[in-house]
Amino acid sequence: MIVVEHLSKSYGAKKAVDDLSFTVTPGRVTGFLGPNGSGKSTTMRCMLGLDRPDSGTATFDGHAYGDFDRPLAQVGSLLDAGDAHKGRSARNHLRWIAMTHGFPTSRVDEVLQMVGMSEVAKTKVGKFSLGMRQRLGLATALLGDPKVVILDEPANGLDPEGIRWTRDVMRHLADEGKSVLVSSHQLVELSLVADDLVVIGQGKLISSGPISQFMTEHAKTWVRVVSPQLDALITLATQRGATVERTREGADFSAITAMELGDLAANNGVVLHELSPQTGSLEQAFLEATDTAVEYRGERTNNVWEAPRP
């Protein structure tokens, strides 16, 4: 289990991580979400002892990362796929890491096979695509068969097959009882694999808990209605405080439940062809939750092809 408690880290006057606390439980995939510059990578670096936090702690089964004699057997991490010497072969890259822990070379060959890189084991890293480097990074994380796996954007640069493979690997690791913390901007992918979510914005915790809880709290819900007497229903619903947005086929009703809307239609003799509760996507919920915490964003224009005015 990973426990992060009151973690804070500043760079000069800028607070990158601000009193952040969350837990990652074994056997579950925990998605780590936040807009660009929200402090996800800094948090991960602090957890792994690469950056020194100003205050707070991060522990793995009760131990700080720096206390482990053989940390790769406890925590596997992929922070940046580019963290490999371009002039070394994939196998030699893993060999020097394995040597620090006395892992045999056979383990290196094993993880290369696991990530599907046996055939390019002797190819220099500089010749790899970003996707191949991601696979090598994943092999590095899995080298010590760790109990905890921390992955920063593991699906970056992967093709659809690679993305699905990464998802399966994460699921498999969690099913083996490992704690998996994964940051990703690919929210659709994350929604398919994550059990829990930790969402941060400007270094602060926005939400932490099961993904279903996050969706309940932040995802937009509405009721889709198709009816030949839509005008009548809109009048009745707006009198009850509902907000309505017309669509091509009908209308979307907010601030009213499907049950209330059904009762209203039945009591007033309004015929309904469709009455279906709708829930927004993880992406919409994420944008909703982090709207006030976005630090860097493009100028919003009606025409996406229109260049922002100076």
Partner: protein, 249 residues
Amino acid sequence: MMGVLRSELFKLRTTRATKLVLGTAVVLPSIIFVLTSIFGFSSGEISNSLIAAVAESSALVGLLMGVVGVLCSTQEYSQGTIRITLVATPQRYKVLLAKLFTVVIVSIGATASLIALSLIPSGIILQSREIDFEIVGSDIRILFSMFILITMLSLLGLFLGLLFKSSPGAISALLLWPTIIEGLVFGLLTLAFDDNVFRFAPIQGNGFSLTNEFRSPDDNSWLLSLGYFSAFVAVFVILGTVFFSRRDA
């Protein structure tokens, strides 16, 4: 700790730049010396000791080994492997010690190889021509000084690398300090003082002079030169250690 040391030695062995510089540091002076033996000593007796002649290349070899030291640390930052290094070994003092021992081991190995590659073929050539050469009393000191100078310059490179984090910066500092900066500073000081101020130049006046066969009366003694040069290197060792230990990766 042994695992980390093995890993550092392996890292050094598996990068082209370090192999190239290391090879140049050992092979180039050896070839030059052997060629000198072939074409330079045709008859008679060699005026100074053969080892002293080999030792004349120590400054060049030392600076090249300093570049190896620089690469040992800066490549980690330029290639991003420092993060993996510190994730695999979070105790930074272990990483630092492993790098230090790696550089010392490689420097000693390179110096020994240089001496062997220079002396053995040259000795055979000279003997075949019945040219007299002898091992004189000061040879042991010169040999010892070669090991010290080359190892210290390698360490200077390593810690300059840890300080600068970039190869161009650290290599420039390593090469410009003895070749230009010391020359300019102490050259100007010579105008102001009658004394031999070059004996205060840490690398040129003391480090490089360690391997000199003969010392003039106004030079520092060998021991004083060693102490002065060691203190100069120690400053960078301390600075590099402090920065490496405290800096975010």
